[in-house]
Symmetry: C3
Subunit: 343 residues, 3 copies
């Protein structure tokens, strides 16, 4: 019996099945420090226990995107080892903050399959949930990927295409228990802009750029125990280049967005996301945002802002797609998320 994990192929997924992913992970101050070393992370709520307490939380949680990476990384050996492309995200929600000392594990429920017409691959939809040690769901999101078939001759399964929401409704966002922005300290947070200061349609060029090194993206990707060969082994792709984990781009863009969105403290919902183009060491990543929507929340002083976050390598800000409707070649990421912000 072969002992190593060859990963799952398209025909290994059955709608309704729940996959229990391996390697639970306890997080500590170490993960927080590394997140600050790997990314220009400055949102005050994730940097200071005192600031977080001033916002009604018991202390500073692990950055929401870092928590997402922990949950996501566990799914890679079961979902994306034989994936040809990570196609999209939907219905993502952060349900509980993750604190130092928490232990996270993940499961994925298969919610859809559809074989491609070429018979060589298919699309698999999963709903992934991250749990803490009290079996509380901390994060859930849907994701779909194109996965190779083991054998092109296997008959196609019945297509099941899940009906996923285009956007998480603001009423469905879960506010961390106790969150209160009534006494929010804008000086310590770094910017004066409230939710009310942003207009729907407004765009923000986040100005700063980071040129990425191989050592950095590999350390980040390993930290989340993402094991896909293409990120680590120069021999795994014909061009000899290591592909940067899409989540590295998400973290870099989100932390760069501090400059202009310092008060978009908490990521609460993930409406959608596209990894539009690949990204390699040596590229300089910049980011811009567009305000898509705003909403009220029941928590004191807490508003919600829906943002498009775009990561680029070159080009001018605010460019997204060409006349053909396709992403421009310098656009790497187009993410649609909800953040919580002082009203």
């Amino acid at each position: 019996m072969a002992k190593t994990n060859p990963g799952r192929f398209f025909e290994d997924y059955t709608v309704g099945e729940t996959i229990h992913h391996a390697v639970p992970r306890t997080v500590s101050g170490g993960e927080r420090a590394l997140y600050h070393a790997l990314y220009p992370a400055r949102h005050a709520l994730y940097s200071s226990d005192e600031f977080a307490r001033g916002c009604g939380l018991p202390g500073s949680p692990l950055d929401d995107i870092a928590a997402f990476h922990v949950v996501f990384g566990k799914t890679v050996p079961d979902i994306s080892l034989n994936a040809l492309a990570n196609l999209g995200y939907a219905e993502g929600r952060w349900l509980k903050p993750v604190y130092a000392g928490d232990t996270i594990r993940s499961t994925s429920e298969v919610i859809g399959v559809k074989q491609n017409s070429n018979g060589k691959s298919g699309v698999v939809w999963v709903r992934t949930r991250g749990f803490n040690q009290r079996d509380e769901v901390v994060i859930e999101y849907c994701r779909w990927a194109m996965v190779r078939k083991r054998d092109p001759e296997t008959p196609a399964p019945e297509a099941v295409i899940p009906d996923l929401a285009k956007v998480v409704g603001p009423a469905e966002l879960v506010i961390p228990e106790g969150l209160d922005f009534s006494n929010y300290d804008f000086t310590l947070a770094g910017e004066p802009h409230r939710c009310g200061d942003y207009e729907i349609g407004e765009t923000i060029d986040h100005v700063d750029g980071v040129t990425v090194e191989e050592a950095e993206h590999m350390m980040a990707t390993r930290l989340w125990q993402n094991t896909a060969k293409v990120h680590f082994d120069t021999g795994s792709r014909p061009d000899g280049q290591r592909l940067i984990y899409g989540g590295h781009v998400i973290s870099m863009a989100r932390t760069l967005s501090f400059n202009g969105l310092a008060n978009a403290q908490i990521v609460a919902g993930l409406n959608g996301g596209t990894h539009a183009n690949p990204y390699y060491a040596g590229d300089t990543i910049k980011a811009w945002s567009e305000v898509l929507d705003k909403a009220e929340t029941p928590a004191p002083g807490v508003g919600a802002i829906r943002l498009r976050l775009v990561a680029t390598k070159g080009g001018a800000p605010f460019e997204l797609k060409g006349e053909d409707g396709k992403y421009l070649p310098h656009v790497m990421l187009d993410l649609d998320y909800w953040a919580l912000m002082p009203v």
Copy 2:
């Protein structure tokens, strides 16, 4: 209203004003581990809780220079985003050790301004203080930088040049509460040399060298939430090179100085410092020290030693300035500090 921070220009500083810097930071064992990964840090007091307890402290504090970086990093968006040069330091003192769990924030009081004769820039002097969550000052130091004017036509402010001490008097050094070197373990510390074994004027070549990589200096600089573009973005300077944060050189030189100064455990005072030449990835940094002075302290077994610490990239040790009185091109740093050492 533009949402991103353009940084302050020379005309934005008023003598007497106190700037409250953003993004407080809680430190943990993660910052300590990263400091040990990024630098050859081996001073026993910052490595071992047991050793620190043997010296009368409650546990091992964050390395003093790391604590300095945390305080300094917060000042960058307000002080040096538009700085042309970081000109000097004076009157630096470490007033309280920083422990895991402490939350640090910084303020800077503007204590001097002087426009340059070209009308395009000026020198700004600030006294920066780092506070912990109990509002105790943990570090204070003066720093001056040359800052661009927004508009050369703005009239020059009245020049105020602060009268800064050339050296912190040994009686002004603050000894951490409880510090006692009476039972100091020289074997575990790594060297037998007491304060009394060093002579004023003595020079020490620290022998070891480190060739620096881009990923390392960027991780270090981000860890302190220093956001100056020139350290991260190859597109931010005409030569396409990322300038290494001067503090990276300070940490590298100080930790290299373990070899010969292993018992200069605690940094207590910063008399002055010059970042003499820029530093880039690929350079190999070495260090040498000169004993400038020695003093007694009231704490049992604790002496003070005043050291010049010089970081170089090439050249011979103990060379500093040329016949023209200027720093030699391979000298990167000339730092003047007080350390606490067993008598």
Copy 3:
């Protein structure tokens, strides 16, 4: 008096002497997070406090190989600063897990010396022990290295060659107190294979590869406070290359072996090891294992498996030595160890 440490030379070692190494180290969650960032570490017992508790331990210890590095790193300034080669290991045992908050120090007893026939160097054998803050031995192992003589004219000491066991007997392995694999969760661990599923002589290709960067191996080596110049300074060797610390290869190979040996959770014994060839940044490391032996242990559900772990840079798996009996040039490491695994 010269203040810097020139390291010991062959004539400085006396059989029977115990060297107390400097710079004790307290570990925290930071070291664990960095280990996960620097290596593809996924063994569940070192990743999750909850998983470790399910196996009868009070929490997740520091990875055994990381604990080994902490102990080993302290010996470098006294043992291998003037070493020409690290020749071998024997009689290694992990006696107590290391937990966050523990402080580790090391001693080495000189157990053998033998001058080489060229008169310029000799072999030194030491038995190194790592202690925690309760003076309990956490790790012990023998190691021998070829060390330069200071003066070729010094007469040779009487040769003492220790009689070291070829293999640690399974009865001598120390099982961590409380360890119980009766309720082991194979799903969370990542693979279904029990000790009984492996056959003696079976070989496993661990499939994955990692191309290593300078920044990564330097950060890892510094984290263990290993200060040998050859790892850091491009000027320290005629070829201008930084030699990668042999322990970096051990950690990389051991963590890569997760894929096929996910349940070989705990490293309990080190029978031997050879750093067969040097290793540089840019090399892609892969690993394969061979099952050498299996044994029972008195702990509930806990078996022992003896493994050969081979790290390579190129070549086909399962190749080891050429017809001349020498290691093939692409073999970097040949390690022989005992691991604890569910029966």
